[in-house]
Symmetry: C2
Subunit: 503 residues, 2 copies
């Protein structure tokens, strides 16, 4: 046993060292996105390069391999705690992924990706897909080879999905996305034909300082710990974890539309609550993080939409909001406010979409990605396929590729298999909410009374505390007692939008 | 030559790597002092520990030694550029200092120092010198041994001075401090007997946001480049350089006294201008930094006092200040304002002292430090000696040691030899100003017209651009044509205070 403990110590010392570099890298990333002076960016990029290389070297080092090899021996495995076993599994997966790709191919890929991202910006600007096409072709070729190096079971796309949503497969996603698409499209059609609730009154001057104060107040109310975090301003909001006691959120204040910071911070706050509530037992292990992109997104969406755009939440907070709004909302009642913040309808741009139509934007992207990796879809056909699917699912067709296939940076950054997590987040969140109601039947009253303890306690008990100790599927099935099921999101959206639109 | 170039490259690659770690360490330090969440501090300290160790290892590595040994060979030296030669000299000095002290002794010292700093806080709180005495004794014993390991020429205190003010010796300081003390004490006495100009009107509500806007405006006016820096809030203001394009300042807003942020930011801004204007040719070398504590302080004091507390500066800025002050200064004329910001007189606490009496506080500390290292002054006698010197030089005597010998943290942090730099900063600044007037005879008009270009250009040409390529003495003598001379500070203070106090 003495020997195993020594190896465990060596392994965790190495993991901690990697985490130290990652903390510095996270701080540098946070700093670059929250106001680092622009003339320092080139110098900073060199530091990031140096440290990223150290992380790569440590993660794939002979020392790491030696530790992992010994800790993965069946006789040793039996002696390990659950936490160590899962940590080793996670490190080994990361090790394999990194070492299986030949270094020169990877270097070439990083160069093409970097070039593609800058070409994308120009192609989008000019709405000219042909500029980007050769780069996408190269990136997709590389991704095909990458999956070949890694190896895969059923199909190539599963291997890409697994990076973001470990264990979730095309089979599962096909099943739930089909259900979702079939049942949501008619609802979107109904909404499209109905009259929007009045919502112009939301647009108006709301000073940044007042938005900051109100949003900070709301974050406190939902349980965000300001002694283990802070809010800063940025262009594209994000949440970032530096260490278990330092979980930051960022936002972008629009002084003419409070919704941007308000729902943005509830969203990032949801991510942050997940990170702040991971069991401290996992600190210093590779398991101290969200278990997947999708489960992470379920938490941000839960706080942004299932809580933040609910009627009872505003029963508690609307008067306070009015006080901060300096007259802007004086003539508005809660019901009008509630309906206004839930206006929905088909639109071309994913990041501006509402919670009803958002999943359809993702389904378009998912079907295209699957075609590129499991089927025979060609890059040159993307604009046409994109527009047809948009017309079929959302009833609108982009006139320019910049409002269509060129709108997102993800593919130019080599991120294939990432989009589904956004929609999985909605599905998980709805299924969690349904399960939570069995333990917290007075969910609405809790919100109206500002008593979030039972809700936070459920989330912590079933999701947050585990970090990456459980897979996303384990989290979901243990918490809800069943596999992923689109029914809960469909029911939630149907009930909500029939109510908001008085259908 | 090919071989020398290879070694130079290896050496500068190593220096750059060290600088990358130092940039990360600086960012972490900045972050901890500008609002990092308190629950993340323990985790952060571990990262700082890891990186500090790497810096130590790289600075004293076999690779560093090999490069330095080869680059210091006389035959090689002749082939090197001035920049490389001076860089190597600086790295070698650092290398020698670090390796000459036995590792276990140094570790022990770091522990005692850390303990002493926390004991100091309690001893100061309780005004009980006897609590701190044994720790100071141990620290001073260690410093004596440290100087023995390093070796020294004339006396031990010179070796301590050299850490902060390379090349400046006790002999020089004795000479100028004696002049200064002899001539300033009578002036302080005169001021003490005279009536203070009215200054109560400076105290009053001045919203933080308005202070921030006005101070940012002033920093722009003095030439601070916001594309290569930013202002943040902190408890104890400081300036910090992350890389040549990222030179940050911090401040502390007191909403009832604008002077704190106003003169504080002019002070930190002076430090920052120095760092922003070092020649970019020196980037990536150990010479990209201020050449000494004292020269650095001369630049901060030049902007805080010689510019910021001058009459013509406010001829340009007083109306703008009034606009930001929301009525606070509406009834005040420039002359009253100018006199109010220059009120002076003996006081017990160094960090609250004015520019007239400040050097006397430093002289008290200098004479004590010299007694501890070159003479036979004992730690137990410090409170008594302190009080006597305060009475002799400033005419006031602390009633409690917390307002006397216990007021500064420096000695508990092992910083002996550091204090003189503060006063040297004043002396340098006055001597620079005198020399500058030969090239910029219309100095006052420049300030009144907001035309700082000739002033900045002089500072850049004679001081800033060189970074640490010249020693402080070279900088001073090349810029002013003579050795350090107390006359210029005495003249400046005499003229200014006779005017302000109408003597």
């Amino acid at each position: 046993m003495g020997k195993i403990q020594d190896i465990e110590k060596r392994y965790f010392d190495l993991v901690k060292k990697i985490k130290h570099y990652e903390e510095a890298l996270s701080l540098m990333a946070w700093d670059l996105r929250t106001g680092a002076p622009k003339k320092g960016v080139d110098g900073r990029s060199e530091v990031i390069g140096t440290f990223s290389e150290v992380v790569f070297q440590l993660t794939t080092s002979a020392e790491m391999k030696a530790c992992l090899d010994q800790l993965r021996e069946p006789a040793v495995q039996k002696e390990l705690s659950e936490i160590t076993r899962r940590s080793v599994e996670k490190s080994a997966k990361e090790y394999d992924r990194l070492v299986k790709i030949p270094a020169d191919e990877f270097k070439n890929y990083v160069m093409i990706r970097s070039k593609a991202e800058s070409v994308w910006a120009e192609a989008k600007e000019k709405s000219d897909f042909s500029m980007l096409q050769p780069y996408l072709e190269k990136l997709i070729d590389f991704k095909h080879r990458m999956v070949d190096y890694w190896g895969y079971k059923e199909n190539k796309y599963d291997a890409l999905l697994d990076q973001y949503e470990p264990g979730v497969t095309t089979e599962t996603i096909d099943r739930v996305f089909d259900d979702l698409r079939r049942q949501i499209i008619p609802l979107v059609q109904e909404i499209k034909d109905a009259e929007d609730p009045e919502h112009d009154f939301l647009i108006g001057y709301f000073p940044k300082e007042k938005q900051r104060e109100f949003c900070s107040h709301l974050l406190k109310e939902i349980g965000y710990d300001f002694e283990a975090g802070r809010i800063d301003e940025t262009l594209h909001p994000f949440q970032i974890t530096l260490n278990p006691g330092d979980v930051r959120v960022t936002t972008n204040y629009n002084e003419n539309d409070v919704q941007s910071a308000l729902f943005g911070l509830l969203h990032e706050g949801g991510h942050a609550l997940y990170e702040q509530n991971i069991s401290k037992e996992l600190a210093g292990t590779p398991l101290y993080e969200g278990t997947s992109m999708g489960i992470h997104e379920s938490q941000s969406l839960f706080f942004e939409n299932f809580i933040g755009r609910s009627r009872p939440f505003w029963h508690r907070h609307f008067d306070t909001l009015k006080n901060y709004a300096g007259g802007l909302l004086d003539q508005i009642d809660i019901e009008s406010f509630y309906r206004a913040i839930n206006v929905a309808g088909p639109s071309l741009i994913r990041i501006e979409a509402d919670e009803l139509t958002y999943p359809l934007h993702i389904i378009v992207r998912y079907e295209i990605e699957k075609g590129l990796f499991n089927g025979d879809l060609k890059v040159k056909d993307l604009p046409g396929v994109w527009n047809e699917k948009m017309e079929e699912y959302l009833g609108i067709r982009p006139e320019r590729d910049r409002d269509g296939v060129l709108q997102d940076i993800h593919w130019s950054g080599g991120d294939f298999g990432y989009f589904p997590s956004y929609a999985l987040g909605y599905l998980y969140a709805a299924q969690f909410k349904h399960a939570m109601l069995k333990t917290v039947p007075n969910f609405d009253d809790c919100l109206a009374e500002g008593n979030l303890a039972p809700i936070l306690s459920w989330l912590s008990k079933h999701i947050h505390q585990y970090g990456a100790l459980k897979t996303p599927t384990e989290i979901l099935e243990d918490a809800t007692g069943e596999p992923l099921n689109a029914k809960y999101l469909v029911d939630y959206l149907t009930n909500k939008y029939k109510d908001v639109y008085r259908l």
